[in-house]
């Protein structure tokens, strides 16, 4: 996948590039706002990674301008840890996700993968993974033809995992997208709900669909 990284701090840029290239991605780099906007306009990239603070044109303005011109490329914002209003401002300007520095590389890669396919065609109303089926309209889940009763929270958790089938989702992605929690909880919210979901979904079946990637997060895989 071709990714454009617009970041003026050489150390962060190298760090990010290295990680993305190690994943087999093709990364273009740009150090300034105007240059980044020019390259982004070409529309050849699957994902843009944009730092909030850039020389020449700040990240928010860059993305706002790109969106006004009709550019649809998904955007992941990077920012230093200042500013608790930043996330909302970033999303309002047309960003798709938001990551605060410093971040774990696994977190960055997972989020890039998650937003890369977000602007897909029509959102699906049913998901299928192996023998698991979820119907969003009927709010039902079946595995191997057997109905599985889920609590609303568990349903949302499974839905998010299914939307990202085959891709790593991190703890923070789950907290933000499933429970709308934008801080570090001190209790094991994710683990608790995940273990409940798993006990309903995977117990009694030969293969486990949800896998734990130690220290990083979870992945739902059908194979």
């Amino acid at each position: 996948m071709k990714i454009l990284l617009i970041e003026d701090d050489p150390e962060t840029a190298e760090h990010v590039c290295h990680a993305l290239r190690a994943q087999g991605h093709d990364v273009d780099e740009s150090q300034t706002g105007p240059d980044g906007l020019m390259r982004a306009r070409a529309g050849q990239h699957a994902v843009l990674i944009v730092d909030r603070m850039l020389p020449g044109l700040d990240g928010l303005s860059l993305v706002r301008q790109l969106r006004e011109e009709g550019g649809q490329t998904p955007v992941l914002f990077l920012t230093t840890m200042s500013g608790i209003d930043d996330r909302v401002a970033g999303l309002n300007s047309g960003g798709d996700d938001y990551l605060t520095k410093p971040f774990a590389l696994a977190e960055l890669v997972a989020r890039v993968n998650a937003i890369a396919r977000r602007r897909d065609t029509q959102p699906p109303v049913t998901f299928k993974a192996g023998d698991l089926e979820m119907d969003l309209l009927r709010r039902t889940v079946h595995r191997g033809g057997r109905a599985i009763e889920l609590q609303p929270q568990e349903f949302r958790l499974l839905e998010y995992l299914l939307r990202n089938t085959g891709r790593l989702v991190t703890r923070n992605m789950l907290l933000e997208n499933v429970w709308d929690l934008h801080f570090d909880p001190r209790t094991n919210i994710v683990e608790t709900h995940m273990s409940r979901l798993r006990s309903k979904m995977d117990r009694g079946f030969d293969t486990e669909l949800i896998h734990t990637i130690r220290g990083n997060g979870y992945i739902l895989r059908a194979d």
Binding site: M81, D85, T100, P102, P185, R186, T187
Partner: protein, 450 residues
């Protein structure tokens, strides 16, 4: 040398009043002089006319002789003119105390016969017969003198007023200067580092006292803020040393003891986790500072607190259950307040997590919402071991950690954040707790106007 009292606002005002007073006194004097002068001249002309009428009467009854008689009588009579002359043909004086003069008619101004300074004659001349001429007039010296007396009085009054104004203005300026000097002195002392300096008050409750009182209050506030800042700086410096030192120890030990790449990996993993902890501490501090700075007020929007708490119930219910606690919600129904959803979520999450983490197993944690007139009271309560009242205030300080909670990970910033969020929402916070009485914390929130 500059006399400082002359360069003050008080003195300037005194000077302006002196000028206004001088102008009005001059106008008053001018008008008085004109009126008095006019009155005296009228009187002189009246005397002259009555003399002339008398002389004419005398002539009608007894001819020239009788007329001359009347002239002599008139000259000694009080309330008549100073000078009278009766002459014939412009040359021969028949009676009077003046030399004969060329006859002129009407009201006349003549020079003083003796040529004295400040003297002149005002009078009336007329013919009794074509040959007989009479003139009667008086010295204008009195009018001249009245004018001079008025002028002199004015000068004295003006000089007195000027002296009084100068003295008063000077005294007022001096007293004002003394007060401002005190303010200046205090400010300089503070600039020089003596932050405890305050401006002395006089207790007169005048405008300067009020100004000084306000300045003192401002200084108190600044001092309190600075204390707070230096307290935080100390706290940060102190509380950051611990995790950074641990990190350093860990890395040092790895260098000395690790013998396989696996052991190095483990040490690096631990070091990354430790540095994440330090960064988390920084973000938490920054978040508190930003909330206290009020930046989030712009993100306020109507939100249903009932729904927010019910969601948190769904999130934390299983967590509490796994920790062998009970979480019970007692909600009110749809309740709209104005606030920041993200921050209020964090506030209540923090309290619920505290209740789960810091109480023994099988503790009941309850979240309750009730209405009291226009206010909404949200309470998070547990029936755990509680906190003695003397500790209540300390709980909300940054980095404060109770003895009992030191075994748990954390920095003691959770309740400081809660307090900052509550303050931002204008929510009054009350704690109800004591040893073995559980712990309860309530917030009074204003309902949004429908």
């Amino acid at each position: 040398m500059r006399i400082r009292a002359l360069h003050t606002e008080g003195f300037r005002i005194a000077a302006i009043f002196v000028v206004i007073f001088a102008l009005s006194a001059a106008i008053l004097a001018g008008v008085t002089i004109v009126i008095v002068d006019d009155e005296l001249r009228n009187q002189i002309v009246q005397y002259a006319n009555s003399d002339i009428a008398g002389v004419k009467d005398g002539y009608r009854t007894g001819g020239e002789r009788e007329a001359a008689e009347v002239v002599e009588q008139r000259l000694v009579l009080p309330g008549s003119s100073d000078f009278v002359v009766l002459e014939r043909g412009g040359k021969t004086k028949l009676a009077g105390n003046m030399a004969p003069m060329p006859p002129q008619l009407g009201v006349l101004n003549l020079p003083d016969p003796g040529g004295r300074k400040d003297h002149a004659i005002l009078g009336v001349g007329t013919f009794i017969t074509p040959d007989l001429y009479v003139f009667s007039g008086s010295d204008l010296y009195r009018a001249q003198q009245a004018r001079q007396r008025i002028l002199r009085t004015l000068v004295w009054v003006f000089a007195g007023a000027l002296a009084l104004a100068l003295a008063g203005g000077f005294a007022a300026s001096r007293s004002f200067l003394n007060r401002t000097d005190e303010i200046v002195k205090t400010c300089r002392a503070i600039m020089a580092g003596n932050l405890a300096s305050r401006i002395p008050l006089r207790g007169t409750e005048d405008e300067l006292d009020r100004l000084c009182d306000t300045i003192n209050a401002m200084l108190d506030r600044i001092a309190a803020l600075m204390d707070n800042v230096s307290q935080i700086t100390n706290d940060i410096a102190h509380d950051l040393r611990t995790p950074v030192t641990h990190l350093r120890h860990r890395l040092e030990r790895a260098r000395l003891q690790a013998s396989s790449s696996e052991e190095y990996d483990q040490a690096l993993e631990a070091a990354i986790l430790a540095s994440d902890d330090i960064l988390r501490l920084f973000s938490a501090l920054l978040r508190i500072a930003q909330i206290e700075g009020g930046v989030r007020k712009s993100a306020f929007a109507p939100l249903d607190i009932n729904q927010l708490l019910s969601q948190l119930g769904d999130v934390f219910g299983p967590v509490a259950e796994d920790a062998r606690h009970h979480l019970r919600l007692s909600l009110y129904g749809r309740t709209i307040i104005l606030g920041d959803r993200e921050l209020l979520t964090q506030l209540f999450s923090n309290l619920i997590e505290n209740a789960i983490l810091h109480t023994p197993e099988s503790t009941l944690v309850s979240v309750k919402l009730r209405r009291e007139e226009d206010e909404l009271i949200a309470t998070v309560r547990d029936d755990g071991p509680g906190v003695p009242p003397e500790e209540h205030e300390k709980l909300f300080r940054r980095f404060y950690r109770r003895e009992a909670s030191r075994s748990h990970p954390g920095y003691g910033l959770g309740l400081a954040l809660v307090a900052a969020i509550a303050e931002l929402h204008g929510a009054r916070m009350t704690i109800d707790s004591g040893p073995m009485q559980g712990f309860s914390i309530s917030f009074r929130l204003q309902l949004a106007k429908a």
